[in-house]
């Protein structure tokens, strides 16, 4: 078939010799610029192979005479980026965390940096967006804080952690295992649970809750307060609100009183630099539950009514 090369009469072009059902393929020559472009790409390819890493070997690849590598470039870019961020990071480092909100741009930078650090170090327990995990890890987005929700307090909590045995500045407190250690009888625990569910508006007062109130006064009030409003200096949760870290139903509260969890959070000053911790605190603060100033250790019963309807939120700071 390939022998039938000839000159096509109509076009005067040589045929390639390919023929199918009487249709022949013309061997039209390429334009010269096209051929030159092809040669240029070949030259480009050779030059590239010499200059850049290209040829795969068993352990690695040819290095190229320019010494360029993608890892090296990444290293450079990371350094350049660190340098670019240095002024902001230095400014954050030099600002006391309580003063950050007064500098909106710095605060915004801190919140963004904190969001990135949060995704690396915190989401494993506290969940994406700080939502927490029911019955395990507290939500960081609500308005209820075990140890306090202003910037300085959050920073302290992140820095020193909670119940770290190797660190004396860590936040620490221990709820006794009333059931497990036999401090209270199961029937007494049931009475205390009734009382707790009454003050949290989940049950109506009963004879059991009345007996529980006495037991509460004797065993629980020292940390949780006489009214059950919690105590932040020992991280004692407020028992009168709607937020229950380990569950607010009868079985869950009974389990907690019998054998408390005494949750642990790692201290981060051993792993993160102070600026990162500061940015993390700013981010957690920004999630919606941040408190303006340190609140008194014993929270007073808040009676925050629903918003006045139809009124504009004028006069905001």
């Amino acid at each position: 078939m390939a022998d039938h090369k000839r000159i096509d009469d109509v076009t005067g072009t040589a045929t390639s010799g390919h023929e199918w059902d009487g249709i022949e393929e013309l061997d039209t020559p390429m334009p010269r610029w096209w051929l030159w472009s092809l040669y240029a790409t070949i030259v480009w390819g050779i030059v590239y192979v010499i200059l850049y890493p290209a040829w795969p070997m068993i352990h690695g690849a040819t290095e190229g005479v320019l010494g360029w590598s993608s890892r090296g470039q990444l290293e450079q870019e990371m350094q350049a980026d660190a340098q670019r961020r240095a002024p902001v990071m230095n400014a954050i480092a030099a600002t006391a965390i309580a003063d950050l909100p007064a500098k909106p741009e710095l605060m915004q930078a801190a919140v963004q940096g904190g969001a990135a650090a949060f995704r690396v170090h915190c989401v494993q327990c506290h969940g994406a967006g700080g939502a927490g995990v029911k019955k395990l890890y507290p939500s960081l987005t609500d308005d209820d804080w075990l140890w306090g929700g202003d910037l300085s307090t959050i920073e302290y909590t992140i820095t020193h952690g909670i119940r770290n045995p190797d660190h004396k500045e860590t936040r620490t407190s221990q709820m006794p295992a009333f059931g497990h250690d036999g401090i209270l009888e199961p029937a007494q625990i049931a009475d205390v649970v009734s009382h707790v569910r009454v003050i949290s508006h989940q049950e109506k007062p009963s004879a059991s809750s009345a007996r529980g109130a006495v037991l509460f006064e004797a065993n629980c009030a020292v940390c949780h307060g006489p009214a059950g409003n919690g105590g932040r200096e020992v991280g004692a949760p407020k028992l009168t609100d709607a937020i229950w870290l380990y569950g607010g139903d009868r079985a869950s509260i009974t389990a907690t009183v019998t054998q408390p969890r005494n949750g642990v959070m790692p201290r981060w000053n051993s792993r993160l630099d102070p600026v990162t911790i500061k940015m993390l605190a700013a981010y957690v603060y920004s999630l919606g539950g941040g408190e303006k100033a340190p609140t008194p250790a014993m929270a007073a019963a808040t009676a925050e009514g629903p918003g006045t309807e139809g009124r504009g939120a004028d006069g905001q700071p």
């Binding site: 390429m30 925050e304 504009g312 939120a313």
Partner: protein
């Protein structure tokens, strides 16, 4: 005339050298029309960035500006934001349908008159004539030895090519930054690297494509001729050699000796000599013809000299060609322009244009976008209420600062505040100041009583607190714990 061998090079060769095209100077109505189009298109291209347009202190004063850095597109009174890119899409669709319209009506008019490749090639061919002389002088010089004169002429010519090419690349970048400032920065070496790179690339492409590749771009590189052949029909205008009138060819002398034996074509080859793509139109319709109609000018002037009627080569549709060949009289050209196909294209084109104008007139310059934060979907608060978080984006597209009011409705007992606001004073609406020509982003917290359906739609609305109260609203979901209803 060139034999097929001349056109395709030596057999067996890997490549075919370009055959030089040295179009002869010609004058006539189409040439003058081409001049006019060239003047207008070049004036628009080079001049537009220099038109000033006062927009006040918050926006640049350039009439036509593609502000990539700030993601704005300015065109006289109109300012386009990235999310309004559909206007640009609409313009592109109009340009597409416009090409259908023009091509179905008058064939490859775009190629022959308005295509940048044609315009710059034409410009460079005038430079050739200015430096080297007309066709014959150019051929002599091209084939001649490298004398000092040839070197000097080539140097001068390429210098002019480069100047034009540089100016072309330089004009392009003016559309992307304030032209006077950029010019100053450019020459003092302070412009962005991308400006220099763009100018260098466009200078190189103009120099190579316009100065050297020329008709090869149209014949080998450009996809448009292939598409156009599919869009034309037997009622589209083509540059046509009327072979039924011209053939057989013969010189005036031969025709005088044998009256009646020859057609009107005197085989003077002027149509070939003036063709910028170097084709012979007498071989029939072909892809190399860009319908610039310079051959019509050339042929008409020859016909006038030998005293024969004009229009041996003329704009003619395939239908009209068939009619004339059969001895009939073709209808006037304007009748062929108005037919269902062109009218439908025109209707479509006009409808899109009107719809865009209407949308442009109706658009609000205050835009709201609300996004529900999904992690967490909702937050349980200590007083039993439920909080949902949203990201609020407010676009103030006017060139003045504005105060706006954000209001929620359809969610009983709900309050809202932003991260900057005090949650204690939260209510059903809040006020925000918006900077001019900018997007303001805010975290929005909405609190509603804990009792209620698991999913509830409500509305967030924004309106301006000034003389133009038009705003925007969006319906979005509020989530609570519990099962779906």
């Amino acid at each position: 005339m060139a034999s097929p061998e001349d056109l395709t090079g030596e057999h067996g060769s890997l490549y075919a050298a370009r055959k030089g095209v040295y179009p002869k100077k010609v004058d006539g109505p189409f040439r003058r029309f081409k001049w006019a189009i060239m003047a207008v298109t070049l004036a628009i291209y080079y001049g537009t960035p220099w038109i000033r347009w006062d927009r006040g202190p918050h926006a640049p004063d350039q009439a036509v500006l593609v502000d990539l850095a700030n993601r704005r597109f300015y065109m006289f009174q109109i300012e386009i934001w990235p999310h309004e890119f559909y206007y640009v899409a609409g313009l592109l669709i109009m340009a597409g349908i416009g090409l259908f319209l023009v091509t179905s009506a008058v064939g490859r008019a775009w190629c022959g008159y308005a295509c940048p490749q044609t315009v710059w090639t034409d410009l460079f061919q005038h430079v050739d004539r200015l430096i080297d002389g007309d066709r014959n002088a150019q051929i002599r010089l091209a084939n001649g030895p490298w004398t000092a004169e040839k070197i000097a002429k080539r140097t001068l010519k390429y210098a002019i090519y480069l100047t034009v090419a540089f100016w072309t690349g330089g004009a392009w970048i003016m559309y992307f930054a304030d032209a006077p400032t950029l010019t100053q920065d450019f020459w003092s070496g302070q412009a962005a690297p991308v400006a220099y790179v763009t100018v260098a690339v466009l200078t190189a492409t103009t120099f190579v494509l316009g100065g050297f590749l020329r008709e090869q771009v149209c014949i080998y590189m450009c996809p448009w001729p292939r598409i156009q052949t599919a869009m034309m029909d037997e009622k589209s205008l083509l540059v046509t050699y009327k072979d039924w009138r011209g053939e057989p060819r013969g010189s005036v002398k031969k025709a005088e000796k044998n009256p009646g034996a020859f057609g009107d074509c005197v085989d003077c080859n002027q149509c070939v000599a003036v063709c910028p793509t170097g084709i012979d139109i007498r071989e029939g319709p072909q892809i190399g013809c860009i319908t610039c109609a310079l051959c019509i000018d050339a042929c008409d002037s020859v016909m006038a000299q030998v005293g024969r009627p004009r229009g041996l080569i003329d704009y003619c549709t395939l239908d009209d060609a068939a009619t004339e060949k059969a001895g009939g009289v073709a209808p006037p050209i304007r009748k062929t322009l108005f037919r269902p196909r062109t009218l439908i294209y025109f209707g479509l084109w006009g409808a899109i244009g009107l719809a865009m104008l209407f949308a442009l007139g109706q658009r609000t310059r205050l835009d709201l976008a609300v996004q529900h934060e999904r992690s967490p979907l909702y937050v349980q608060l200590s007083d039993g209420a439920i909080r949902n978080n949203y990201t609020l984006k407010l676009r103030n597209m006017e060139l003045r600062p504005r105060d706006v009011e954000v209001t929620l409705s359809g969610l009983p007992g709900a309050r809202l505040w932003t991260e900057d606001g005090a949650r204690e004073t939260a209510g059903q609406s809040l006020r925000l100041p918006l900077a001019p020509d900018s997007v303001t982003s805010a975290k929005l917290f909405v609190v509603a009583p804990g009792a209620g359906p698991a999913r509830q739609d409500f509305t967030i609305a924004v309106r301006a607190l000034d003389d133009d109260p038009r705003g925007d609203r969006e319906t979005i979901q509020f989530d609570r714990p519990g099962t779906e209803p």
